[in-house]
């Protein structure tokens, strides 16, 4: 019975997203459509990064590397899977959907595995050292892709089709994934695991004294956030003609950090707001392209001095709608 209700809910949500997509494509111009899609991708990036940086308090500044792994992974697999799956299922939307989602999942998996590889040694380090090491790994990943000739090296990977990567990414898939990831991470944050992660952030020594498997949890959270960055990467890849290493420079990691800082470190709704903010401001500043990073930098500095907790702090939007705010991580019903 319970499974039936769940299945019905999921189908209902997907239907709503599908209907929104119809409205989206018919009423908005290409320019606005792109902003909306980028907002969705940003939300996935921000919510994922928030899990490790905000909830668990382990500051990583090299996540662009994981996004790259997911992007290249999804693009490459998508290209390789297309011929066999098209011959099996025909050329239509069904085949495309299957190819795309398998590619995204595999890209996410590769990204998650690289998150494990990076996280396991790095998470033994404290605050600023961890940040620098993750920066280093992010750069190493990018340098590797830059030198990988089978993936196009510096020119980038454009798939096997001369016209570039297939444009699988659309409103429906982006926001289906956004919904899935936000729900899953929300559920994780408001659970015993989430509580343990917050405990690690608050006082790791006390958390250990309470039998919390701190290393295992930190690495797991790191891997999950890497995987979500990977899925965002895969979605991003299939909005472009190709995947290039220069899309994943340190600036991309900084973009992600701006998102979660603006929204509030530790808050999922904050991350969502921050992700939208970045996509919108990116487009609004298109004419002021060269000033963009200067302004983001100033924004970071000012926020840190004036309101370091960002918009929502570590609380969620619905806390402000109740009469008395509390952290409310008791999950369940």
């Amino acid at each position: 019975m319970r499974a039936l209700i769940r299945a019905a809910t999921i189908a209902g949500v997907l239907l709503v997203i599908y209907l929104l997509q119809l409205g989206f494509e018919s009423s908005l111009n290409d320019y606005v459509q792109r902003i909306v899609l980028l907002s969705g991708i940003n939300i996935i990036l921000a919510v994922g990064l928030n899990l490790i940086n905000g909830t668990t308090g382990q500051f990583s500044i090299g996540h662009a590397g994981f996004m790259a792994v997911g992007a290249y992974g999804a693009a490459y697999l998508g290209a390789k899977l297309a011929p066999p799956l098209h011959s099996l299922l025909g050329p239509g939307a069904l085949a495309n959907g299957v190819i795309f989602n398998i590619a995204l999942l595999m890209g996410g998996l590769f990204a998650g595995i690289s998150g494990l590889i990076v996280g396991m040694p790095s998470l033994r380090l404290r605050g600023d050292y961890l940040a620098v090491v993750t920066l280093g790994f992010g750069e190493i990943i990018r340098i590797l892709f830059n030198n990988a000739s089978f993936l196009g090296a510096a020119t980038g990977y454009f798939g096997d089709d001369p016209s570039g990567l297939p444009a699988y990414t659309n409103f429906f898939w982006v926001f289906a994934w956004v919904t899935a990831i936000v729900v899953l991470i929300h559920n994780l944050t408001f659970s015993q695991t989430g509580r343990s992660l917050i405990a690690i952030r608050e006082d790791e020594i006390a958390a250990e004294a309470m039998a919390t498997p701190t290393t295992r949890l930190k690495v797991t959270a790191f891997a999950i956030s890497a995987a979500t960055a990977g899925i965002a990467g895969g979605l991003f890849a299939h909005m472009q003609a190709g995947v290039r290493p220069e899309d994943f420079r340190f600036e991309k990691s900084i973009d992600m950090i701006v998102m979660i800082i603006v929204g509030g470190l530790g808050s999922i709704s904050g991350a969502i707001l921050g992700g939208i903010f970045l996509a919108v401001s990116l487009e609004l500043m298109r004419d002021l392209q060269q000033y963009r990073l200067v302004l983001y930098a100033l924004l970071l500095i000012v926020i840190m001095i004036v309101r370091p907790q960002g918009l929502l702090g570590s609380r969620e939007l619905h806390h402000f709608l109740r009469r008395r705010p509390k952290s409310g991580t008791v999950g369940g019903a």
Binding site: N187, S191, Q192, A199, I205, A209, A211, S314, S327, V330
Partner: protein, 259 residues
């Protein structure tokens, strides 16, 4: 077999011998006191027992098994719980959540269960919440369950730390200066609570404490350290008049401190 035994434990920091050749035995179901002047190495001993520090040499036997060198989480999982000298509660979480965090052994659902909100997950949360509330009830914190831990008064924070430690279902409870900042009324209540922990919950308690009204009243055996070394061990009556102990406290009579 004793519950906890330290054999010739040695802990050195750089050039400083924080703990030197300390041996002691804590019998099951007793209340054991560890006292000494400031900087004597008492908290260091707690840190060594709970795995925060690894001793340079010596054995730490929990029911006969050497736990020296194990990680703190592993030692906690074996049934050793503690509170901290400078209260270390999770300030950004509620009182109930603070206690629930320690309930790892009651929690069998996996991360996937949590993400998918499976039935096993819901059952787990229910069990955790129920047990947490029981403990809060025992420590008199039930009404404060939904309050942010950081907003609690000092005394309540100390009791919260104990409730959280009890969530581990420990055999051994290490209390680091639980009476700090308490007046004599509160200290008397604490004495009753510690006896309750031994008598009703079957715990073995090791107590680091400066408040002699608590130590002398509640401990069955007292071990005295100074400058990292053992200087005396005995019953409260013996320790009260022990010349080395009196000298270590620079002539201050333990009775005076107790009044």
């Amino acid at each position: 077999m004793s519950l906890l035994e330290l054999r010739r434990v040695e802990k050195i920091f750089g050039g400083l011998r924080a703990v030197h050749d300390v041996s002691l035995v804590v019998e099951r179901g007793t209340i054991f006191g560890l006292i000494g002047p400031n900087g004597a190495g008492k908290t260091t001993l707690f840190n060594v027992i709970t795995g925060v520090y690894t001793p340079e040499s010596g054995a730490i036997l929990l029911s006969g098994k050497d736990i020296a060198g194990l990680r703190p989480a592993a030692i906690a999982a074996l049934g050793v719980a503690r509170t901290f000298q400078n209260i270390r509660i999770f300030r950004a979480m509620t009182v109930e959540e603070n206690v629930m965090v320690a309930g790892h052994h009651l929690h069998t659902a996996s991360i996937v269960d949590a993400m998918l909100r499976s039935r096993r997950y819901a059952a787990d949360e229910h069990a955790l919440s129920k047990r947490a509330r029981e403990l809060l009830e025992i420590l008199g914190l039930a009404e404060l369950a939904a309050e942010l831990a950081g907003s609690l008064p000092y005394g309540s924070q100390r009791r919260l730390e104990i409730a959280r430690a009890l969530m581990l279902s420990p055999q051994l409870l290490l209390l680091d200066e639980p009476a700090a900042g308490m007046n004599s009324q509160e200290a008397r209540t604490l004495n009753d609570q510690i006896r309750f922990l031994r008598d009703q919950l079957g715990l073995t308690v090791v107590l680091v404490e400066h408040n002699m009204a608590v130590v002398m009243n509640v401990c069955e055996k007292i071990h005295v350290v100074d400058h990292g070394e053992t200087i005396a061990e005995g019953t409260p009556a013996e320790i009260k008049v022990h010349p080395k102990v009196l000298a270590a406290y620079l002539g201050e009579e333990p009775e005076e401190a107790a009044s």
